[in-house]
Amino acid sequence: MVKVIIDDIEVEVEPGTTILNAARKIGGDVVPPAMCYYSKLQGSGGKCRTCLVEVAAGSAADPRPMPKLVASCSTPVMDGMVVKNKTSERVYDNRAAVTEFLLINHPLDCPICDQAGECHLQDLGFEHGKEGTRYEEKRRTFDPIDIGDKIKLHMNRCILCYRCVYTANQLTDQRVHGVMHRGDHAEISTYIEKAIDNDFSGNVIDVCPVGALTDKTFRFKSRVWFLKPMEASCECTKCAGKAVVWMFGDEIYRVTGRKDKYGEIEDIDGKTAWICNECRFDKKDKTKWKIEGPRVINRHSVIAQNQYVVDERLETKKLTGK
């Protein structure tokens, strides 16, 4: 076990853990934001640069600080490492700059976007963004594309985190989905708009941190904060069948995987609970699901707004501390 100090909090982790995962072990606002890193996807991370942290001392053996800010999602910890995240002015400045870079080509069409309310870029912009823009040129634009008959791709909103590419690579049998071109005209594509027909392709919607990949069966139907997320399970031969159904009254508007507080699909019984396309797109009937109870939503999320019903499980959590 190695000891690291992140924002003056000491934590012991396994050797080889990344700084980001060590910070997640502490939890709270010590955790740097991550747009591209997804712990359930191998090889993800290192691209968006929002998780940059300052390393004030490299290790106990060599306590020199690192000259550059390092990406916490891909830098392993060393024994005696001292990391500064929210205590560092430099980190804050550069994170604000990265936010600005991510937003210069983003259409900012949150009022239309189905991801609004659960969008990581919104959170990042809320914390680190500036009110105005210094970008005077025309933003990069693409037409929305259908990927298959159930997924809509808005390339305008994409921040090229590559998460969906890794998902297509690791979850589905044959990859028909990748990044074309390079530089600031790079785009996600399925090679001449070839449809993805795979049982798990719908998970690219769940991993997308922004609204670039959205569910066509939920497209413009409602806003996430008007829906009630309920934990539900079903008998499914392809996947574990553990999902969150988003209900409006007695109707199921959409089905997603169970995401934890970092927006990643939860592990259930030691396996990542990806859900299959049939569960996601076709089971919109309440009788096909066993509703287990309301999903715990962060009180500060807009999804929790106007929900006056007291969540009993949340209350017991507060009381017992579990």
Partner: protein, 179 residues
């Protein structure tokens, strides 16, 4: 115990004097006050013949604005509904089809939009929440009806007609953030 607010008054039931028992001097002074007010400027106006001038930020009946080209500004983002403390607003959205670009500004629009004027408390939070400058409260007064259903205003009453624009320029000037 001593009162903390210092406003406590002990009620006394003391005996009246002879002059107080006469009552007439007190009635006389009361009548004088009434007489004085007859010649003073009136505080009320004779509505509906006379109408009082509204403040520029008066919050009356809502309007859903169109842009210069006559397209509806509202994109049914739902922020007004989530901001509404009285839960008076409801809407459904739809995707703009090809050929409707002259009707709606963005690719999504509100296919229905209803405000229940009985629930509405005219707080103006919907106007504040709107990111598209679509909903504004105006100086028009919501009339009275006999039926409850008449108070549910749909798009037919809320969206401004293309040829009869509702002027909201005064409140736009007052609400601007400093540059």
């Amino acid at each position: 115990m001593e009162s903390l607010s210092n406003r406590k008054k002990v009620v006394s039931n003391k005996k009246m004097t002879f002059m107080e028992k006469m009552y007439f001097p007190a009635i006389w002074s009361g009548m004088m006050i009434t007489l004085k007010h007859v010649f003073k400027k009136h505080n009320t106006v004779k509505y509906p013949e006379v109408k009082r001038e509204f403040a520029p930020v008066y919050r009356g009946q809502h309007v859903l604005k169109r842009d210069e080209e006559g397209r509806e500004n509202c994109t049914a983002c739902g922020l007004c509904a989530v901001a509404c403390p009285a839960e008076a607003i409801t809407m459904t959205s739809e995707e703009r089809k090809k050929g409707e670009e002259h009707l709606y500004r963005e690719e999504k629009y509100a296919s229905t939009y209803e405000i229940n004027m009985l629930r509405c408390i005219f707080c103006g939070l919907c106007e504040e929440a709107c990111p598209k400058e679509a909903i504004f409260l105006t100086d028009r007064i919501v009339p009275t009806y006999f039926e409850r259903n008449d108070f549910i205003y749909g798009k037919d009453k809320l969206v401004e007609p293309v040829d009869q624009r509702v002027d909201i320029s005064k409140r736009q000037l007052t609400g601007k953030r400093p540059a």
